[in-house]
Every structure is written in structure tokens, then in C-alpha cells.
């Protein structure tokens, strides 16, 4: 496969998101602009300018009309995807590290940083999925993280829970209606920050990546650890592929240590694991720095990774990827085929 290199950013990438149809890729970086690209050929559709600080996070609503971004300039902004116009700005006391739309797009959560005497919080905003509509300025709910600040958060299936990953390696589950803490479970190693949280298609389970060099598959309902994927480097991102039972992990040593080692030792590769058997099944090289974010195409045809080197690499898988099966999977398929034909 020949990856498409997108060089629209001048600084390290922070997050990449595919639109739900898989045709658009949104990328944000520390250089204060948001880019949107067509995933099939890497053509840039446009940019969204307006943030005054590094942009940490981005999300697309389920209908691909509105974009939300959170930045180190202490704001969340809403954008009209089609025109690049900024629709709304919410101000917060500290930087926003993560935003995510709920399943139906009517709610947006934001994770704010713990800094300058402010505790880390998870805020919930009501969203009207209309470019023309006036958005409300008020927060619908605020959850304060007193113990350890949240680094990532998301909505579970049916927007029933809010799941948050914390700096101390724990994962907590909040009631999405009341904001009450239901569970807080130490999942990753103590004080190894959780760096990413991405959902399965139906949001009944999710994957977390952590600085403790593992990624874990966790069920949303009871926060049970279903699978563990050990890597040999701190992880920055993890994603679950569609159609094939794989997960993709991205990481590499911390950005500050990069200059002291050769690219070969830096482990700047996307790692593919089998979701069920937990085996590592391959790696994809290419970045010159650690991978800060990986995103799987919702159509299952490819994935994109964003690195500290400022590049987004969009990959469209070859046939070998789709053909790959474990012996047991192949045998089951043959059996099923035999039953059908009989």
C-alpha cells in the first residue's frame, strides 16, 4: 500500500477523526489550525482558522454537519463543516483536552485541564445540530474530577454513561444524566496516564491506550477488562478497526527523548494486534516521530495516523490485509460455506 502523506500542519498532530461515512478526515495539531481532507485521495477540502492556541482535540457530529474543537486557548468552538465558519465559542478557565459528541449528536462533552487552581472537569453542552441555530451558552452539566484529572472521556452506548480515563491510570464511569460517579477502577498502572479512548462501533466497549505500554479493551457497562495488548513503548493512541477484528496502537517514546535516538529505535510504528487473540500481527513504519493519534476508517478500508513529525499518513489497505485470517477463523468459514452449499 502506498500511504498518502498530508502535510497541512506545521507542528505535531494531536488528533485525527474520520467522518462517520469515512470520506472526510479532520486533523488538528498544535499549529492552531484544523484541516479537513478527502480520505480517498488526500485532497484538502479546507481549513478552519480561529483558535489562538494549540488544538488538542476534535470531533464530528454523526451527520457530518458540525465540527467541535477544543484548544489550549481555553475554548471549545463549533464549526460549520461545509464553509469553515465558526458558529459558537465557549470559554473555560483552562485548556480543553478532549471533546466528543454523543451518539445522536445532541450533546457534546469537553474535558478541561487541571491548572491554575482549577480542578479538572468534564462539561456537557447541549448542541442543536443545525448550522443556523443559536447554540445555548450554558453548560448542561459539569462533573468535577477531584481525585485525578480526566485526560480523555466519551459517551457510552445510548449516551447512558460517560466514561473517563484519568491521569492516574484509572477509568471511571459516570451516569450521563446526573453526573454521579458509578465506578472508578484502577485499570492501567498507577500514575501512568491514559492517553486515548476510542469506541467500538456500537459503543458497548472501548479501547484505552496508556503510557504504561499497554492498551486495553474494556466493556462500557461494568468496566471489565476484556483484552490486553502489551507493547514495548508508551502508547499515545489506540483504535478499533471495522470489519476486521484488529486494533491499531500508536506510540513511541516521549517527544522530548526523540532527538537522542535514531528513528529505528524510536519505535515509531503503528502496531496491529488481533483484537481477540491479542497477538501482534504486523507493524507499519513511516513516521519520523512518535505517533500521537491513530484513527480507523469507519468503512474498514484504511486508517490514518498523525505523528509528532507533523504529517498525517492515510493508508488504504491491500488485499493481504483483508485476506488475513487465523487458521481457526478460516476453518470456521470453510465449515459455514460447506453448510450453506449443502
Amino acid at each position: 500500500m502506498r500511504p498518502i502523506l498530508l502535510a497541512g500542519h506545521e507542528r505535531a498532530l494531536t488528533q485525527i477523526k474520520y467522518s462517520p461515512d469515512g470520506d472526510l478526515i479532520f486533523s488538528v495539531s498544535k499549529d492552531q489550525i484544523i484541516c479537513v481532507w478527502f480520505s480517498h485521495n488526500g485532497e484538502r477540502l479546507g481549513t478552519y482558522r480561529g483558535h489562538q492556541g494549540a488544538i488538542w482535540t476534535i470531533d464530528v457530529d454523526p451527520t457530518s454537519t458540525i465540527l467541535a474543537s477544543g484548544s489550549a486557548d481555553n475554548t471549545i468552538k463549533l464549526w460549520d463543516i461545509k464553509t469553515g465558519k465558526c458558529l459558537q465559542t465557549w470559554d473555560f478557565p483552562t485548556a480543553v483536552k478532549r471533546v466528543e459528541f454523543s451518539d445522536d449528536g445532541t450533546k457534546l462533552l469537553g474535558v478541561t485541564e487541571k491548572r491554575m487552581g482549577h480542578l479538572g472537569t468534564i462539561v456537557v453542552l447541549d448542541i442543536k445540530l443545525d448550522v443556523e441555530a443559536e447554540q445555548s451558552d450554558e453548560k448542561a452539566m459539569t462533573i468535577v474530577c477531584e481525585e485525578s484529572k480526566a485526560t480523555v472521556a466519551g459517551w457510552s452506548y445510548l449516551s447512558k454513561y460517560i466514561i473517563a480515563g484519568h491521569e492516574d491510570g484509572s477509568v471511571s464511569q459516570y451516569d450521563a444524566k446526573t453526573g454521579d460517579l458509578i465506578y472508578n477502577i484502577p485499570i492501567h498502572e498507577l500514575n501512568q496516564s491514559i492517553t486515548d479512548l476510542q469506541w467500538s462501533q456500537d459503543r458497548s466497549y472501548f479501547i484505552t491506550a496508556s503510557k504504561d505500554k499497554t492498551a486495553k479493551l474494556i466493556s462500557s457497562r461494568d468496566l471489565e477488562v476484556l483484552k490486553t495488548y502489551p507493547a514495548d513503548t508508551p502508547l499515545n493512541s489506540a483504535t478499533i478497526t471495522r470489519n476486521k477484528d484488529f486494533v491499531i496502537l500508536g506510540g513511541g517514546q516521549a517527544a522530548m527523548d526523540v532527538t537522542t535516538t535514531a528513528a529505528r529505535q524510536g519505535k515509531f510504528e503503528a502496531r496491529f494486534y488481533h483484537k481477540i487473540f491479542e497477538d501482534e500481527i504486523g507493524r507499519v513504519r513511516g513516521h519520523f516521530g512518535p505517533l500521537n493519534t491513530v484513527a480507523a476508517d469507519p468503512t474498514g478500508k484504511g486508517y490514518a495516523s498523525g505523528g509528532e513529525d507533523g504529517y498525517v499518513r492515510v493508508h488504504h489497505f491491500d488485499r493481504g490485509y483483508f485476506d488475513f485470517m487465523y487458521e481457526v477463523e478460516r476453518e470456521r468459514q470453510n465449515r459455514l460455506a460447506a453448510v450453506v452449499s449443502a
Binding site: 500500500m1 502506498r2 500511504p3 498518502i4 502523506l5 498530508l6 502535510a7 497541512g8 461515512d21 470520506d23 472526510l24 489550525i33 484541516c35 481532507w37 478527502f38 485521495n41 488526500g42 485532497e43 484538502r44 477540502l45 479546507g46 481549513t47 478552519y48 482558522r49 457530518s64 461545509k82 464553509t83 469553515g84 484488529f246 496491529f272 497477538d279 501482534e280 500481527i281 504486523g282 507493524r283 507499519v284 513504519r285 513511516g286 499518513r313 493508508h315 489497505f317 491491500d318 488485499r319 493481504g320 490485509y321 485476506d323 488475513f324 487465523y326
Partner: protein, 298 residues
């Protein structure tokens, strides 16, 4: 507004000039074979006029997409991309070098094998061509290197030592045996108990050779395989004869093309025999396959 202020006077005026000077217009000529020749002129970074001739074949590929997706493809570009022409802008979008990514169960092991491969192969080739026979024990080593040099008279009860046992089917094992054999040649050097004269024939099980428990009895060697072949195709072809436990297609590490030989292991030797008879001389792609039972590497 933003786009206008973005253009700085310091952004080389020269560029402005060069683009306005008379570059011949782009020419598009259709060739007889359906391709197009595009000739255009541009200034390179050094300011020299460059003529570029490209031969392009247009291939129309129809793709059915969601209407929402199709609609989005018609959207006007905006922001920094507003002035881009249709299609990817080469300043932001480039195509990277080809990456070969084929998931594999024993990915880790394969990566290691590849690293060893050239040496191992070279060693194998060397051993293949040379038929060395020891005058003392009929083993495949020089007489001077024979572990029984001091204990046995030339050509005595050579049967005590099975030369094949000493030479494992793996190059690593062969190398180990060779060094072991070389050891006693030097007087007074340490010989591990397992390799000492009285026990050299009774070598224990090897731990995790390259193909640990490979059953050579039911393994076929397929040669003259097309370099475009895929493991899956071979598997499909040979699965007709019985359960295939392993397909190994040697591939060039850089190009990803097949090297022209493959090993197919069957669960059952009878199936292997059948497959061997049927598939030898079978036309696959543009070549005629040669199938035989894999020999233990000497």
C-alpha cells in the same frame, strides 16, 4: 480577508514575475494507444524553465458511494485550500513510498528470520555444493576436524555415528554441530557434554528451530512458482488434496515478490503424496510447477 492579508510582500516578488512571463501553454495530445501526452512548462526552484512531458493513461473507475459522500465531493474548497485547483494540491498531499503490510500470525518470528535469511541461505548453499566426507567416520566434515580423530582409527565402526543426526535440518543446528565438531580439534578446549565423542550421535531434541515441529514427511517443495504468486493462491490450490497446515512462500524482502519457491505442509502424508503427483507439472500462471517432497537440508 484572511487570504489577502496572508500574502506578504516579502513572499518573493520574483515568483510573481516568473509566473506571468510567457510560458508556452500546456499541450495535450492523444496518442494512438489511448494514452495522452501532456507537455507543460514550468520554472523550477533555481528559476530555470523546465519542459515536462508526461504520458498519462486515464482510467475511469466507477465507484458507488453514499449520496451524502457524493454531495460532499462537490463542495467548494475554503480556508487555506480555497485557491487550490480541483484535485490534490501537491504541496500538501503527496504519495509515500510503497509499504508492504501483510498481517501474519508469527509476525515477530518472520521479521527475525528475514534478518538471518541471507546468511543462513549462504551457509546452506555452501554446504550443498560441498560434499565433504570424513575418512574416519564418514561424516560430512574434514577428517582433520573429526571428533573421533584421537579415539578412532580411520574407517572403523563408522556406523556408531549417524552423520545425518549430526547435521540437523536447520542451518543453525548445522552451524552448532560444525562448531562443536571444530572444538575438539583444538586440544584441551572445552567440549559440552552433549557434543562429546560418545554422545554426539544421540543429539537431543532441538529447541524451537526455525520451524519447530515441522513434519518434513508431509512437506512438499514447490519450485518454479511465478513471482506474482500469493500464499493464498497456493493454499487454495493445495487445499483440494487435504488439510494444509502450513504454506510458506519465500518472498523478496524489498520487493515483496515471490522468490520462486514455496513449501506446503500437509497434515496427512497421503494427501501430500496425492498432491505431489497431481500438481507436479501443473501450469500455474505462466510457469509449470515442479513439486517434490522436501528433502532434509543436508
Amino acid at each position: 480577508m484572511a487570504t489577502q492579508t496572508k500574502h506578504d510582500w516579502a513572499d518573493d516578488e520574483e515568483l510573481e514575475e516568473t509566473t506571468t512571463t510567457d510560458l508556452p501553454p500546456q499541450q495535450k495530445i492523444q496518442n494512438k494507444d489511448g494514452t495522452w501526452t501532456i507537455i507543460d512548462y514550468y520554472y523550477n526552484e533555481a528559476g530555470n524553465k523546465v519542459k515536462r512531458t508526461r504520458r498519462v493513461r486515464y482510467v475511469v473507475r466507477r465507484e458507488v458511494v453514499n449520496p451524502r459522500v457524493a454531495e460532499r465531493r462537490t463542495w467548494a474548497k475554503f480556508g487555506d485550500a480555497a485557491s487550490d485547483s480541483p484535485g490534490p494540491n501537491p504541496s500538501t498531499t503527496t504519495v509515500g513510498e510503497n509499504i508492504i503490510f501483510v498481517p501474519s500470525v508469527n509476525w515477530r518470528k518472520e521479521a527475525k528470520d528475514e534478518a538471518n535469511d541471507p546468511n543462513a541461505q549462504a551457509m546452506k548453499d555452501k554446504l550443498k555444493d560441498k560434499k565433504v566426507k570424513c575418512r574416519i567416520c564418514n561424516g560430512e566434515h574434514f577428517t582433520a576436524r573429526c571428533p573421533y580423530k584421537d579415539t578412532m582409527a580411520p574407517i572403523g565402526e563408522a556406523g556408531a555415528v549417524d552423520p545425518a543426526a549430526g547435521m540437523g535440518d536447520e542451518p543453525s543446528a548445522a552451524a552448532a554441530a560444525a562448531t562443536g565438531a571444530a572444538g575438539p580439534g583444538k586440544k584441551g578446549s572445552y567440549v559440552p557434554p552433549a557434543l562429546r565423542g560418545d554422545r554426539a550421535g544421540a543429539r537431543g531434541e532441538t529447541m524451537g528451530g526455525k520451524y519447530g515441529e515441522r513434519d518434513d514427511l508431509a512437506t512438499l517443495r514447490v519450485t518454479n512458482v511465478s513471482e506474482m504468486a500469493e500464499e493464498q493462491e497456493l493454499r487454495d490450490m493445495f487445499e483440494r488434496f487435504g488439510r494444509v497446515t502450513r504454506v510458506f512462500l519465500a518472498k523478496d524482502r524489498d520487493t515483496g515478490l515471490a522468490k520462486g519457491f514455496a513449501f506446503i505442509s500437509f497434515a496427512d502424508r497421503d494427501d501430500a503424496v496425492k498432491a505431489c503427483n497431481k500438481m507436479d507439472g501443473f501450469g500455474f500462471r505462466h510457469l509449470i510447477l515442479r513439486v517434490e517432497f522436501a528433502k532434509k537440508a543436508a
